[in-house]
């Protein structure tokens, strides 16, 4: 299996400059909201989990913040060191290995997903959150495997599954391997469905491509945050195909709700109680 031959390359990881250190916030204490153009105090924005206190615009948050938002306290992580072995040895302007190393450095994650078990308002759940800062939250073999294992744990433990999507879709640098993850995860979700264990899919900005065309649309409930970009094809691809401008609000959560593609739009600060109530509906009160 020739694609393993370069996997143990310790120098590469060691020589990376400490990029994360430069991320000290120097912008000051105030921000301008892209939604309402109002000046908002940064601390207010952080306190409200990156939802503008003035207009309710939802800004992106990372995977760790997602888990903190939804879970009651400490949680157990799985497969934290599972990383791609670059089976295609994909090289464009930079090698995939370099892109991975940079993303790993920047996010302290081995790939674009955290998979965990914890409690949500006292109920044990399996939960996965994608990290949009890790190569656009793209899905390759690692994400596919981690999600499939989470589904299998849900089946074994009968703990409900929650997956929070934030992804540009399948990861190009793993070619057809990424594509087949759609089938792999969807097949596992068929077994979860047969086992009648609840699955809630949370679509956040952005959820497009292969992630939408598989796990994100297969929840018992598919719910989205307000204003999230959600679609199969990216807006640019569609514009090029039809050669006309896209209508206002196209492929946003509200557009999908109107066209019958979502069960509900739920603001970020209400997500936890919404999911808790839905799980009570599905599985009864917490024992």
């Amino acid at each position: 299996m020739s694609w393993f031959k370069r996997e143990n390359n310790p120098e590469k990881k060691a020589q990376k400059p400490e990029k994360g250190q430069r991320k000290v916030k120097t912008e000051g204490l105030w921000l301008k909201c892209e939604g309402c153009k109002e000046i908002i105090w940064k601390k207010d924005l952080e306190d409200s989990h990156n939802v503008c206190p003035k207009c309710g615009s939802h800004f992106r948050i990372d995977a760790v913040a997602r888990l903190q938002l939804l879970l009651d306290g400490p949680y157990q992580q799985f497969d934290t060191d599972l990383a791609s072995a670059d089976p295609l040895e994909f090289v464009d302007q930079r090698s995939y290995r370099e892109r991975l190393a940079t993303a790993q450095e920047a996010t302290s994650l081995a790939d674009a997903l955290i998979s965990a078990a914890g409690t949500l308002e006292g109920r044990k759940v399996q939960i996965c959150a994608m990290e949009p800062k890790f190569i656009g939250g793209s899905m390759g073999g690692v994400m596919g495997e981690k999600i499939t294992r989470a589904i299998e744990r849900s089946i074994t433990t009968r703990q409900p599954l929650i997956i929070i999507s934030a992804s540009g879709g399948a990861r190009m640098q793993e070619g057809a391997i990424s594509l087949m993850q759609l089938a792999k995860i969807s097949s596992a979700l068929m077994h979860l469905d047969e086992a009648r264990v609840p699955y809630i899919s949370v679509l956040t900005d952005p959820t497009t491509g292969g992630v939408t065309a598989s796990l994100a649309m297969l929840g018992d409930l598919n719910i989205a945050e307000p204003g999230a970009l959600i679609g199969f094809a990216g807006p640019r691809v569609i514009e090029q195909t039809i050669r006309q401008k896209l209508p206002e609000g196209f492929q946003r959560s509200e557009f999908l709700l109107k066209h019958g593609m979502l069960d509900a739009i739920v603001p970020r600060l209400q997500l936890k109680s919404y999911i808790s109530q839905a799980l009570t509906f599905f599985s009864g009160p917490v024992q």
Partner: protein
């Protein structure tokens, strides 16, 4: 070899991947209906998704393969301009995928095998397709194909355009024709993203590893169906005979499995795909707690 001579760069190998892309898209390449005509007797097309429309980019129907009743589902490109427009260049919309899973479920109900032909540049990227839930339609097909308690044989006959092809491709056995390609993204789109230049598609084709041999080596398909010399477009009858042989063998093999075994075999096969991992060791990766 003269040791003084500086090492010569070997001549650039012909880009086989790109040649395959061109063959897969060859204007004379046999399409789904060409194979159905040669392999299936008493074929009757089944139309419509019972929800919105009949999508001509996917052909479905009942018929007999060597006197065995089978359900056919295949993506269909057009031949002349008018036909191409009618078939939407082989790019299905949600109603096409919904028709496909509808007929597959009919086949499952009556214990009939399904044969699918994959041949699309991709699912149609348009406003109407998005409005009607292109992503949902594909996702549902993936999950529901996994549930079918019948033999499903999928053959990529030309262009395996990402999720648009995979939506018909969750088979117990998946084959690619020798000169077909199967990819997560078209070489042109890949090049446009990476190099901001769709003219670099040839390079992207090689990088994506999208040939039948590539997918076989990566463990993503079950076999390669040879084509007549020069490619299937040179001799459609001969190509169809090679496909016939593979379907015959595959039906016989899968016919030995029960419904439950077929579901399990299909799941186990896809469950293993893409497990090329390494350990990201040497630093703390725990970001939570």
């Amino acid at each position: 070899m003269d040791p003084e001579t500086p090492e010569q760069t070997p001549p650039e190998p012909p880009n086989l991947a790109w040649q395959r892309v061109l063959l897969a898209r060859h204007p004379k390449r046999p399409h789904t209906l060409d194979y159905i005509e040669r392999l299936i007797t008493d074929f009757h097309e089944i139309h419509g998704d019972r929800l919105f429309a009949d999508d001509a980019a996917i052909v479905c129907g009942i018929g007999f393969f060597e006197s065995r009743p089978v359900m056919l589902v295949g993506e269909q490109k057009g031949r002349d301009t008018k036909d191409k427009l009618h078939r939407n260049f082989g790019m299905p919309k949600p109603e096409g995928y919904r028709k496909a899973i509808r007929v597959m479920q009919i086949a499952a109900k009556f214990g009939r095998p399904v044969i699918t032909f994959l041949d699309t540049p991709g699912a149609y990227p348009g406003i109407d397709a998005e409005e009607r839930g292109q992503a949902e339609a594909i996702a549902r097909n993936l999950r529901e194909m996994a549930r079918l308690e019948i033999p499903v044989i999928s053959i990529c006959i030309g262009e395996g355009g990402s999720g648009g092809a995979l939506a018909l491709g969750v088979g117990n056995q998946v084959f690619m024709m020798e000169n077909s390609v199967y990819s997560v993204i078209s070489p042109e789109s890949c090049a446009a993203i990476i190099w901001r230049d769709s003219a670099k598609a040839e390079q992207a084709a090689a990088a994506l590893r999208l040939t039948a041999e590539d997918l076989l080596h990566l463990g993503l398909i079950d076999g390669v169906i040879p084509e007549p010399p020069g490619g299937a477009q040179e001799n459609t009858d001969a190509a169809a005979e090679l496909v016939r042989k593979k379907i015959r063998d595959s039906l016989e093999e899968l016919g030995r499995l029960s419904g439950a075994e077929l579901v399990e075999q299909r799941y186990k096969k896809f469950r293993r795909m893409g497990n090329f991992f390494t350990t990201h060791a040497g630093r703390t990766l725990v970001a939570g707690d």
